[in-house]
């Protein structure tokens, strides 16, 4: 098993009695949650259960209506916090009307490290390159990102999040609709991040491929935390109406539907 065991220091993510929503309408209610360094947390739940809203609250993209959220010891949105938190949005495609290469898009992920007027230096360009290498897009680095497949574009977005060398990485549905090759590339990247001690929060429908790395799972139901603990088959009992949403996957399953996060992938 790869990975660092969670340490007992101050929490990386600290949510106390938090309600999150848009305008004045709360979607997530009264959530308290501490995530420590090195944890790999899967946020599960049916559509509309509030998982995406919860992580958007952590990123300052949804309104915190009650309680407080601290990321790495500072309130959400504090100046300079952006470099330490990476975000991979729930989206397949990137790019506006003007062509932009993978490297140009990934470089924009380095900006939080550069302050107001700082320019890219050699060390920044190296960080961008290693972020691109980490998701296996090295050969496509100077291609227009709009010409890539959905899975490759998604890897580009992960590289963008990695470019600032974040301590926490929040990914929203990183595997949804992604081709096999991209799943493998994502898997290698995630295992490497775990080894580096990066804390991961992954919103997902498919827990299957994650079983090897996830250290903790949170199941959201109707905007509240319904389960918080290790992945276990008990939470998939027949009484659970959402069982089909997150089938725990046996890594030895010969059908091997998706092995993108199983430990063997990282050994390559």
């Amino acid at each position: 098993m790869t990975g660092t065991s969670p340490d007992a220091g101050p929490p990386v993510l600290d949510l106390r009695g938090v309600s999150v929503g848009y305008t004045d309408h709360a979607i997530v209610h009264d959530v308290s949650l501490q995530v420590h360094r090195g944890e790999v947390v899967a946020v599960l739940g049916a559509n509309g259960s509030g998982k995406t809203t919860l992580v958007r609250g952590m990123l300052g993209l949804a309104r915190v209506l009650a309680g407080q959220i601290e990321v790495l010891g500072s309130p959400v949105g504090a100046r300079g916090a952006g470099a330490r938190i990476g975000y991979v949005p729930q989206r397949h495609t990137v790019g506006g009307s003007i062509p932009s290469t993978v490297r140009e898009v990934v470089s924009s992920g380095r900006l939080p490290r550069l302050g107001w007027l700082g320019r890219m230096r050699a060390v920044d360009r190296a960080a961008v390159q290693s972020a691109i290498d980490a998701v296996d897009l090295t050969d496509l680095a100077d291609t227009d990102i709009a010409d890539l497949s959905g899975g490759q574009q998604r890897r580009g977005l992960i590289a963008r999040a990695l470019a600032s060398e974040p301590q926490v990485l929040i990914m929203d549905e990183p595997t949804a609709g992604v081709d096999q090759a991209s799943q493998h590339a994502l898997g290698r990247a995630v295992v490497r991040l775990v080894q580096l001690g990066v804390t991961l929060v992954i919103v997902t429908h498919e827990i299957g491929p994650l079983t090897g790395v996830v250290t903790r799972s949170i199941v959201m139901q109707d905007g509240r935390i319904a389960y918080d603990g290790p992945l276990s088959t008990s939470m998939l009992g027949p009484s659970d109406g959402h069982a089909h949403e997150h089938h725990v996957h046996d890594p030895a399953d010969p059908t091997g539907r998706a092995t993108w996060l199983s430990p063997t992938v990282g050994d390559r």
Binding site: I98, S100, L117
Partner: protein
């Protein structure tokens, strides 16, 4: 000598310099507007600026400065209305734009110095109207626009490319969007003499539309757009001198001609690529390899195989004609 004849007039030298400044600044600001899919916002600012120009004409103040104030105030208002994202925002923008142009037309007609010819030159550009003091103002404003935009280009790129991500990582999204709006407003004013308030938006957009057809990276697009902007403005002003046409219209027609050529070129390029692909596919009946009997030829970063007088190159699971 034709070119020398053009340069012996003071007004032409000023017009050409003003055109050069516009050609540089408009595409640089425009690339971020196109990226944000706000291609028409510059048009609205031109409308609002007309009210500013009219106020200047009416009160005897230099119209460049009153236009600048109107455009900047309008730009900030537009951006704030857009940020609110309400459905009524669309209507609010329409009121602002048409209020600007209607107010401008009415105010100019009330002013003793205002004539229809005068109005036309503000709307569509004229080569004889750039005064020496205008030129100094334009140079300072265009310099400020270029310096600010190029310094902040990576941040403006990030915000235009993915505003939500930019917000998540703590970039000042509203601040950068307001700044881009103000830069657009200033560019509109710099362009009011030679391109005209109704046509300036075209010079922000068309060079970038051309670059978008020809380039594969943002940086290359920026370079191509600026080069195109400079060439069409200067050439358009020269043409307008000889053919005696309004400079703004001439510049924009030239830009459209270049755009059509670029679109044609890009279509031909894609057709050739498709043809080479399907030619190779059609009579491809085996996997080329080190011992397939076809002569291997090194070609840049890959190997082609000689095949009945063609060269085949493997490309993502199939063969292309090289």
């Amino acid at each position: 000598m034709a070119v020398l004849e053009l340069l012996q007039y003071d007004f032409m030298r000023r017009a050409l310099l003003a055109g050069l400044l516009v050609g540089l600044a408009a595409p640089v600001v425009g690339i971020f507007l196109v990226q944000r899919r706000l291609a028409l916002i510059g048009d609205g600012m031109g409308h609002i600026s007309l009210a500013g120009v009219a106020l200047g004409v009416l009160t005897g103040t230099a119209p460049v400065w009153t236009a600048l104030v109107a455009a900047v105030v309008g730009a900030v208002a537009i951006e704030l209305i857009r940020t609110r994202g309400r459905t009524s925002g669309d209507i609010a923008l329409a009121v602002l734009f048409y209020g600007g142009i209607a107010g401008g037309v009415v105010l100019i007609s009330l002013s003793p110095a205002g004539t229809p010819a005068n109005l036309n030159s503000y709307l569509f550009g004229a080569i004889t109207t750039t005064t020496p003091s205008d030129l100094v103002t334009f140079a300072v404003l265009a310099g400020a626009v270029l310096l600010t935009t190029l310094t902040l280009a990576p941040r403006l790129f990030a915000v235009s490319n993915d505003p939500e991500y930019a917000r998540a990582v703590g970039l000042p999204v509203l601040g950068l969007n307001l700044l881009l709006a103000v830069l657009t407003a200033v560019t509109v004013v710099v362009s009011m003499r030679v391109v005209g308030l109704l046509l300036i938006s075209a010079l922000m957009i068309l060079p970038n539309a051309i670059a978008q057809l020809l380039c594969h990276s943002f940086r290359a697009s920026l370079v191509v757009a600026v080069a195109t902007g400079v060439v069409v403005s200067v050439a358009g002003i020269g043409t307008s001198f000889y053919v005696n046409t309004p400079s703004g219209g001439t510049i924009v027609l030239l830009a459209i001609a270049v755009f059509m050529l670029a679109a044609l070129g890009a279509a031909l390029r894609d057709a050739v690529a498709r043809r080479r692909h399907s030619m190779a596919e059609r009579h491809h009946h085996h996997e080329h390899g080190a011992d397939c009997g076809h002569t291997a030829v090194a070609h840049d970063d890959h190997v082609d195989y000689l095949h009945e007088g063609h060269r085949h190159a493997q490309h993502a699971g199939h063969y292309d004609e090289h």
